[in-house]
Amino acid sequence: MEEIINIAINNKLLNHNDSKVIDLLSGNDKTDKIVEILSIEISKLFVELIKLER
């Protein structure tokens, strides 16, 4: 994340003194097993349903 924050600062998406924003971005990545399962399984279903449409 540190490298991405530096790229964001260079691209003026972020100011280097935005400490509160940087703190918010530097927090641990929240992951969730149910979110992971649903994202994978429902996306796969959608891909198959779209294939039928086309």
């Binding site: 994340m1 991405i4 918010l24 979110v35 649903l38 959608f46």
Partner: protein, 383 residues
């Protein structure tokens, strides 16, 4: 000595609170009250309602001295709920009208849209925060997407003070575009950049974001942030180290939108919102699927998930809720394209691989139409 003097105010008497047995002055059950939270005590919360002190049971945590709207869920125990989402589902017009009247807000469409979002997000309706939100949106003439309103509410409600400086910084830069737009832009750029004259190892990294059902590279469905992070860093190094770059515009755009995607997704995740986009390969074309999963907690602390999957090019949408390992969903689909066997297999996979039971219903491109078919798999965990 002082207690015996008639003209000396007895502070203890003034602070005497009304108990549930004092039924004459007690707010009725299943009504709204305007409440100011004064102090957290061992056995409850000292609150002020219509100028009178009460001890109430409030499970939610909110800052002291704030004026807010609460629902009397139990007048005997004098239990108040600051989450109005259940009552809102039953009578939204009444709730909105009461909030506007009690807090002196205009009963406008835009104000009601914001209030609706606050309640749907199960946030307490805190007068100072709502007022600040209205003023901030009005002063900056912001037209916000649902995901931007979601973030604005969550960030503002988390802020201890009532300053908007931090929010202004965020919305001027990282959050200036809705997440959906960022994903659509990234999808368009991906379509271009995979044919650009850039080092092949970077093209390979970007190709990892494209889901191909023949190889079943599921990382493209879930770990895309990690893959895009690597691609953005590689492209940024390439931009820094090379002077003669063909397709510079496309490369710069990927870095810009890839960075926005990573930063926005990181912030959204902090608030239990998991939006994503899927780029899927279908023969010679790429297709885009948008999805959003939000995690909430019920008053009893149980987690549940609201899910929405969309495909803009064709009428296809899935909305559902997952609670206690049970998915209850509805698919909006062109009835002629409906493949029941495919959905049955999806349900079997969910059950066999993840022990998630499901009930899927279908209707025909219209939420209001009656469900015409449904598929059940496993035991209904809601029962």
């Amino acid at each position: 000595m002082t207690d015996s003097l008639l003209n000396i105010i007895n502070i203890q008497d003034l602070q005497k609170t009304r108990k549930p047995s004092d039924s004459i002055t007690m707010p009725k059950q299943n009504t709204l009250v305007t409440v100011t939270i004064l102090e957290r005590l061992e056995l409850g919360v000292k609150v002020l309602i219509d100028g009178k002190l009460f001890i109430a049971i409030i499970n939610e945590n909110v800052a002291m001295q704030e004026e807010l709207i609460a629902w009397v869920t139990d007048s005997e125990k004098f239990e108040l709920s600051l989450n109005l989402s259940n009552q809102f589902r039953e009578n939204s017009n009444y709730i909105l009208s009461e909030i506007n009247t009690r807090f002196g807000f205009s009963n406008s469409v835009s104000a009601n849209k914001i209030l609706t979002k606050i309640i749907e997000e199960r946030k307490p309706v805190i007068k100072s925060k709502v007022k600040l939100l209205f003023e901030y949106i009005q002063q900056n003439q912001l037209k916000l997407s649902d995901s931007q309103i979601f973030l604005l509410i969550n960030i503002l409600w988390d802020e201890k003070g009532n300053s908007t400086n931090f929010i202004e910084e965020l919305f001027e830069n990282i959050l200036s575009e809705p997440f959906e737009n960022v994903c659509k832009q990234l999808f368009e750029i991906t379509n271009e950049i995979i044919f650009a004259k850039i080092p092949s190892f970077i093209i390979q990294q970007i190709n990892k974001t494209v889901y191909d059902s023949s190889t079943d590279n599921v990382d493209a469905l879930y770990n895309k942030k990690e893959i895009i992070t690597k691609a953005v860093i590689s492209l940024n190094n390439y931009l820094t180290n090379e002077t003669l770059i063909g397709n510079r515009d496309v490369v710069e755009k990927y870095v810009e939108y890839g960075t926005k995607y990573i930063l926005q997704k990181t912030i959204l995740q902090q608030y239990n919102c998991y939006p994503e986009f899927v780029i899927a390969k279908n023969e010679n074309e790429l297709i885009l699927i948008m999805l959003e999963i939000k995690k909430y907690y019920s008053n009893s602390g149980e987690a549940f998930y609201n899910i929405v999957f969309k495909q803009n090019a064709i009428p296809l949408e899935l909305k559902g809720i997952v609670r206690n390992k049970f998915l209850s969903g509805n698919i909006i689909i062109d009835d002629e394209k409906l493949d029941v066997e495919l959905i049955r297999k999806f349900q079997q996979d969910l059950k066999q691989n993840w022990d998630i039971n499901s009930h899927i219903s279908f209707n025909q491109n219209n939420d209001s139409k009656q469900t015409n078919r449904s598929l059940e798999n496993g035991i209904n965990a809601f029962a």
